[in-house]
Subunit: 260 residues, 2 copies
């Protein structure tokens, strides 16, 4: 609902092979070695195609926690594949409104909003120290004219984002606070699990206020609702550490026809 559920990589790993420093230089970027390739890249590529796609990945870039990958109004030139870390994207209006439009984690692609007008329409902020692969969009377009699998892949990534946003609209338009937050937790768990993390434990990288913004709620409501889940024995909360004791109960909350 919040994210398409079919993503599941086969070789999960906590941190994976970092760009190891040998003396003064760093090992060449190599998607073929990257444990996230099944998330970022098309499957079933020939070695030749793989090589060519690696050329698209121009460089890596590190972002400190709180720093921005791109900002609203900046010229669009690159898409970014997240290697490590956690981002939020948010739109802001002149009158000071601010809306988190998504949270992105390793293996996800960020920056698609910039394509229409060659300008980014949202901010991408790192919620923890992060590293991204920079992919000049012009080169993606060039190469996807030649490598059909890449073309498909780009289309699917964009379509997936559209479908994800449809799910968020459903959530914002018709669910009550408990349902929204249950869906939110389930979605995070599912995505983290697909990356090899625990099914039941997770660490929130964002504040209650950011969760609230994403879910169309105030931070107090987020806090209260978490507290209620704790009372009901559904989760344990210790600051940003959350342990899900009863995932089935969360699923039941989401699919309760109430509210509407």
């Amino acid at each position: 609902m919040l994210n398409s559920p079919e993503i599941k990589i086969s070789t999960p790993s906590g941190d994976g092979e970092k760009p190891v420093s040998i003396g003064a230089h760093t090992i060449k970027i190599a998607c073929s070695n990257c444990n996230l390739r099944e998330l970022c890249m098309p499957v079933g590529l020939t070695p030749t195609e793989m090589d060519r796609i690696e050329e698209v990945v121009a460089s890596r870039r590190k972002i400190k926690r709180g720093g921005s990958l791109f900002r609203l109004g900046e010229k669009f030139t690159n898409l970014y594949a997240i290697r490590t870390g956690f981002f939020k994207t948010c739109v802001t209006t002149e009158d000071g409104r601010d809306q988190v439009t998504g949270f992105q984690m390793a293996g996800e692609v960020i920056g698609l909003d910039g394509i229409v007008n060659d300008v980014h329409t949202c901010n991408a902020i790192a919620l923890e120290d992060a590293e991204v692969c920079t992919m000049p969009f012009e080169r993606i377009e060039e190469l996807s004219r030649e490598v059909t699998a890449l073309q498909h892949h780009v289309h699917k990534i964009m379509s997936r984002e559209i479908v994800r946003e449809n799910g968020v609209m459903l959530l914002l338009g018709s669910m009550r606070a408990e349902e929204r937050l249950a869906a939110f937790l389930l979605n995070l768990m599912q995505r983290l699990h697909a990356r090899g993390f625990s099914q039941s434990e997770l660490v929130l990288r964002m504040t209650r206020e950011e969760i609230g913004s994403y879910m169309g709620l105030k931070l107090e409501t987020v806090s209260r609702t978490f507290s209620k889940f704790v009372e009901d024995g559904i989760i344990e909360v210790k600051q940003r550490h959350i342990r899900v004791l009863n995932a089935q109960a969360l699923r039941a909350i989401v699919s309760t026809k109430a509210g509407s």
Copy 2:
């Protein structure tokens, strides 16, 4: 906010050249003659490219009011360009929830949700008798490998949809009923105006309930809010006919920092 605002075609027309029947057959589909081409098609094509793109448009299809163009769960094969008529797209869940995710009018492309998994994830329902151009997605992909302008165009259309949905999320997540409906009316007006219709008068093709679903409100709230706008002298309402008396007031309502 609800739709990207930069679309503006230069040769608007009320109904345009329909597929005129001459005797038993219909005039060949010709994008080059279509008055909507500036909405559906890339600009600056060579005549050769234009010819090739016309081959992609396989056929036309008429949908009666209330009929569906595609349904949730159906196999995805085509994108559709709306020639005439008005559609809604909506997602439904097992537990009976229903959320309108967008309203589409002439010149807009519909069906992008199906690309990720080759299955449509929403329903597209005609709100009035409609006609669409059917564009097999495989052929779009083929041709956009060869015609760069088409490739750009496809990417922009998808990105535009992502940005539109970001706007809706902002609206659903942080605006109050009056703000939502003011934004809704302004958006419809802007899109209709770009198609050559009046700046100030519009006919709603959807029910209060459908507006409410899109905006995350109940139909009673929609009705009440319209009534309030009437009291305030901002609009006139006669059933589905709406005349905007004070667009500036609507804009002021949207950008009031109130609410969140």
